[in-house]
Subunit: 377 residues, 4 copies
């Protein structure tokens, strides 16, 4: 039975645990694959959810069972599931290796990380492995000359310098290990010229950046509506309240900054100009896994008449992200199988900050995804 | 200078007055054509807003100047405009004729209405006239055998029977007078087999039904988002609060019913199934021209997690409708010039209850409109 | 150990089951008495939650355990509780007797109901029993001469006529059995002159009508704010969406009418005049125990400037009602012990449609409650 | 005809101009005194709005007429008014003197400011003058020893040191000129021990701080509702969007800080403990005079059930503030007439950060105001 590896960076996090538990529930017929975009795409030879084998890197130590129980108490995972899926959670647990977190010696670390991936693939005779980064959001990274090309990068790494942010070291290791890559966070990840060069050299596909799950998803559906109707958006303000998972990380202003930058691309990207207003992200522990986002839009119509639209989104971030992680891993695996290499711009539909394209309008992104899927058939 | 007639049924209403005042302000350079969809379409030979001449039928008697002043006090038309545009309002005033309102003798009435249209066209040497229905919403009409074909209809009309609702009598008169037609209200209008037969016989194009301006516009942008993401909508509830213009008419349950039926097509049309929840329309005089609509959507994602989205739309109905009336008249005039006949399904983008098509997803409708415009070039 | 009986009409409903389970959890120290108003009142000799013994009437047959499990699946009762509280739920189960539902022979029925109450009190040597009506909302009752005085009523009952709606028959039986009464529903209950006469004759206190738990609670806090600031409320519109429990009952227009009438007293009661706008109540099964209410208020300030306030309340009706039922039963029991008879107007704080008073402003009601509690000390 | 002076610090601002224009419109019978709290208070000898004469200090130079026209274009002042009230605006214009803005020589400046007040009173034979500070919000002031007592302060001033922030220099000058004072902004103003000492020495009443007009007003009505019902507030988050007037000033983080500190007192003040969540204030020029505030409250009820309340307030700040400025000036003038001196804690009803009291619950504050008014009769 052919199998595909789905290797999670941040394997013990809310999104990662929801991916593993959800896939297990779907495989065992306990739950339908609701929320998976693949369900509505034309058949295109994607590996089945049942054919995925999970592993990953994390720097935390909490067990997947414990994490699943917590997510169940938080109302994300149905109460009965953690017990029912104990074996599958343990199987994934057994394939989680210590990650890398800025403790120096990046060349050695990269070798270790790549080694873990190769061992995972070989031990289980997997057709291929796709690495998906769902680790904590990193602060924006300042440019370094070593990012410009692979040679300069590898020389610096060999010299023991701490060159890459963790997210990019994982991408480097993944490409070195022959794995496709999905950058589900707003961190730098593979989006450096040196790593693009490596992916091309290794004929590996990758996609990214920063999963589009809640408020930004709604923005990308509404902004084109205003544009089409000639309604001039004058300001777009927002407040995101979230606890659990990434919320704590985003309480740190610098990490938050990379998320805010990524979130604020969408509306100007669709309207073709900047508009007044900004998006706040507040960590409110009390909200747990439930992100609440309020957006307020002012716009101008015929004869300058001023009107407004406001919405409140109340979603469970991990439950919104997990099915997209499964979709992306299956699509990138199939693209790898079909010989696609480099950035997959056609997967912009899944991302706040699409690599390899600048289209943000949701319906246009969906058409490109459908055409991409047809080409994979 | 070639000119096109825009003949408004309900010429003294909020939407109609906003159309005439707005077009005059744009023609005189006082205001930009903001809110007009045509602005974002590829050039396709539409008659310019400056080449439109206005006339219409109404059963009320208030002057356009008085109506424009009221709309200015209500904050719809900028305060200075009614005075500045007095001449243009008077010019349109001079072309408004008494309408028809169920006072029997439909054959004679149809002849009178058609005569008004022909006289309007001939007196001003207009290339063609498009009739746009923005009269008060009628209650749903009960089927009659005479609606089945033109012959049976005209026999009944000649026999003096009161066969057609006013909106359909206007459509009949328009087609008899060689005019294209836009059904901007949810009333029956041209959507009867006998009238479709007449339009074909007279090689006339028409479009409809019920302008999509506020809450339903947002629904048609959001429902496809849920569908694409595999998020299962469980209920979609809404409350519309509106005063002015059509609000008073919709206070009558039967008239409201045709609006509610039309509004409630959109979400099931996009999702392909019914969902729980209904849409209320309340007449609140205090809101005047400002329609406020709250929608509340419950949906289910990965592992059955329950989430919600709610929005509040605060729009000025007349200012949202008027630019669409200008777009539709110009598009139907051009289609007539280019020999298109019968229902223009490609104009579904403008309507809650699209005639000649069942596509409700806003972005898909927009693509069809763009292709239609290219074909008109 | 002195004990007080709390006899629930509608004992197998959402509110009733939440009362029994919640009281058991508080008594066993599993949960704090959060949501109970008594906690913030000056000590006034109320029977402790631990001293309450439960019984009741219902016409359904589902077991309290089953009902508690359903409420747990709906997220109302914490998952672990139904099992932990099995004994206490069974103890209450054993004291539930078949209710009365319009099947004629009201005199005999009243005797049976009263007999059940007397047997409950005597078998357990209870100091007293308070009857709390949390049965399904009844349609408004049309006036009958027999409601005017006790003699006429009892003559008609003896004659076998079906005179009283069930809620009033329960009140009659309670008073005949020497029990105080709480009308937590908008139904007629004790609010008939004949029953007021009986309560006085039996020196029994009672309070009501229709527990103030969600949207109306917020209205009674906000309306006084507008009044105090001289901000003239022009319209107050609302849409309530609810599933579970009473939701299904309120899907029936006539039952809904008594709830809407009761809900719409509050704002005019505080502002001293009617305002435009109405409150809709929609049954949306998908919402289960979670009532969502949107209110939209337009108001006018200095120089006629028009402003708005809107709010969305997302509450669990049963969890909001249950602690108030406990408060009311304890307060009425204590009032009975202290010799208070007739309607307790000072308990208006708990009700949408306060019997024995017309004060709706929440803070003023609270002051009266505090003074009432001091007097009970 | 006895008259009272109302001297505005920031006389050319949005609030100040709205005060002058509004009072003139009320005096001339054009508009009712809607929004004035005094209307609902028992009669207590307040000077009539018709008996107020306006003057003030400002550092800007725009004319009141121009400012009124701008506020009219922004929809705050009815369009016809600026022209109709030209004379009254000019009369106030003639009594505006250059203010003080940190340009050193505070002793001389204080003497000049006080001189302007004395000249204003004497030239018009006014019974008394009340100074109301509606100037731009200042950043929080750092403590200086000179604030401790009057002697130390006046020695420092005489020595030419720049000791006081402008708001406190105005208060010093007002007290030296024998004027009562209202601190309508969150700035330091009279709330320094040295100035309290001066007010007592001069037998002058004063009130403050930071007018409670929109979001905070609603908070002070809702927070007591949760407390009374035993509903445990867990988080209270908010986003304020405002343009015009103070909005631009609050774009500067330090000025914003004094407003945020003042706004965030209310909920903890009422609940008696801190809660998670913060209030953001964003300057969105596009919103002009229309402040929009969204608040999101999470709370816990019976058995720990988690619930939420969110509201959106859309108010015109200047139109909400102006009537309160008239109320406060009239109440402080009357208090002065009746010999009340020092801080008037009973006026907490008007303020976000009440001086002379720590009661924030709106209804309790209103009761104290009513009793205060009765005492003034
Ligand atoms: N949930 C969504 O809707 C959504 C949407 C877009 C992007 N994301 C991104 O997904 C990521 C995960 O979100 P989450 O809610 O699961 O966060 P989380 O905090 O629950 O999980 C993050 C995990 O990453 C691990 N980690 C941190 N640094 C690491 C390192 N150097 N190497 C390996 N593991 C490391 C942490 O130990 C933790 O287990 C975040 O970056 C978030 O921004 C989430
Ligand atoms: N404004 C929007 O957003 C919008 C959107 C979709 C549809 N519509 C439809 O547009 C129409 C007009 O809306 P409005 O706000 O201008 O209403 P309105 O009440 O202001 O105007 C309707 C006009 O129709 C006239 N009328 C009524 N019966 C007539 C008859 N038999 N013959 C000729 N004239 C007649 C009335 O006298 C009035 O002047 C309504 O049917 C409404 O449902 C409006
Ligand atoms: N939950 C709240 O916030 C709230 C607020 C105010 C009032 N109420 C009122 O409380 C009542 C109960 O609400 P719920 O959600 O528990 O409803 P529910 O439907 O869950 O429970 C009602 C119970 O009453 C029983 N019943 C019906 N007719 C009866 C009869 N003739 N005799 C005895 N029992 C009978 C039903 O079998 C059911 O078990 C309703 O009337 C509701 O309007 C509830
Ligand atoms: N509008 C409300 O709802 C509200 C509520 C509470 C507090 N306030 C406070 O009222 C004040 C005025 O608000 P606004 O909207 O009118 O602001 P604004 O900017 O329109 O007016 C402020 C005026 O103060 C003047 N000014 C600035 N520094 C001065 C100085 N040193 N001396 C004299 N004048 C000076 C400015 O020139 C301007 O004319 C602000 O401090 C605001 O925080 C307003
Ligand atoms: Na609409
Ligand atoms: Na405020």
């Amino acid at each position: 039975m052919s199998a595909t590896g789905l290797w999670l960076i941040g394997a013990r996090g809310s999104v990662a645990t929801t991916v593993v538990a959800g896939a297990a529930a779907i495989r065992s017929g306990l739950l339908p694959p609701q929320g998976c975009v693949a369900e509505s795409l034309p058949p295109c030879g994607l590996p089945g959810i049942g054919e995925l084998m999970f592993g990953g890197h994390d720097i935390a130590s909490i067990s997947l069972r414990k994490r699943a129980e917590r997510l169940s108490e938080a109302g994300v995972i149905p109460p009965a599931l953690p017990a029912l899926l104990a074996d599958e959670l343990d199987a994934a647990e057994a394939e989680i290796r210590p990650g890398y977190s800025r403790e120096g010696g990046q060349a050695a670390a990269a070798a270790r990380l790549a080694g873990d991936l190769i061992s995972f693939r070989d031990r289980h005779g997997l057709d291929r492995v796709v690495v998906v980064d769902v680790s904590s959001t990193e602060p924006p990274v300042t440019w370094r000359p070593e990012f410009a090309d692979l040679g300069a990068l590898e020389t610096a790494l060999a010299g023991g310098a701490e060159v890459l942010p963790p997210s990019s070291l994982y991408a480097y290791a993944a490409f070195r290990a022959g794995c496709g890559y999905v950058a589900f966070t707003p961190s730098a990840g593979p989006a450096l010229p040196a790593l693009e060069e490596l992916a091309a050299a290794e004929c590996l596909p990758y996609a990214g950046r920063d999963g589009k799950t809640g408020e930004t998803l709604v923005k990308s559906a509404l902004a084109p509506m205003f544009a089409g109707r000639g309604l001039k958006v004058r300001s777009w303000s927002g407040l995101n309240l979230l606890g659990g998972g990434d919320g704590a990380t985003l309480a740190d202003p610098s990490a938050r900054q990379s998320k805010e930058v990524s979130k604020d691309r969408t509306v100007p990207g669709i309207l073709g100009r900047e508009v007044e207003g900004r998006t706040h992200i507040d960590y409110v522990a009390d909200l747990g896994e439930w992100k609440t986002a309020w957006d307020h839009v002012t716009f101008e119509g015929f004869m300058g008449v001023r009107m407004t639209l406001q919405f409140t989104w109340q979603g469970c971030d991990s439950a919104l992200a997990a099915p997209l992680v499964l979709d992306l891993a299956r699509l990138v695996a199939r693209a790898h199988e079909r010989g696609r290499t480099g950035v997959l711009g056609e997967l912009g539909y899944f991302f706040k900050d699409p690599l390899g394209g600048d289209e943000h309008a949701l319906a246009v992104q969906y058409e490109r995804l459908r055409t991409f899927a047809e080409a994979l058939a």
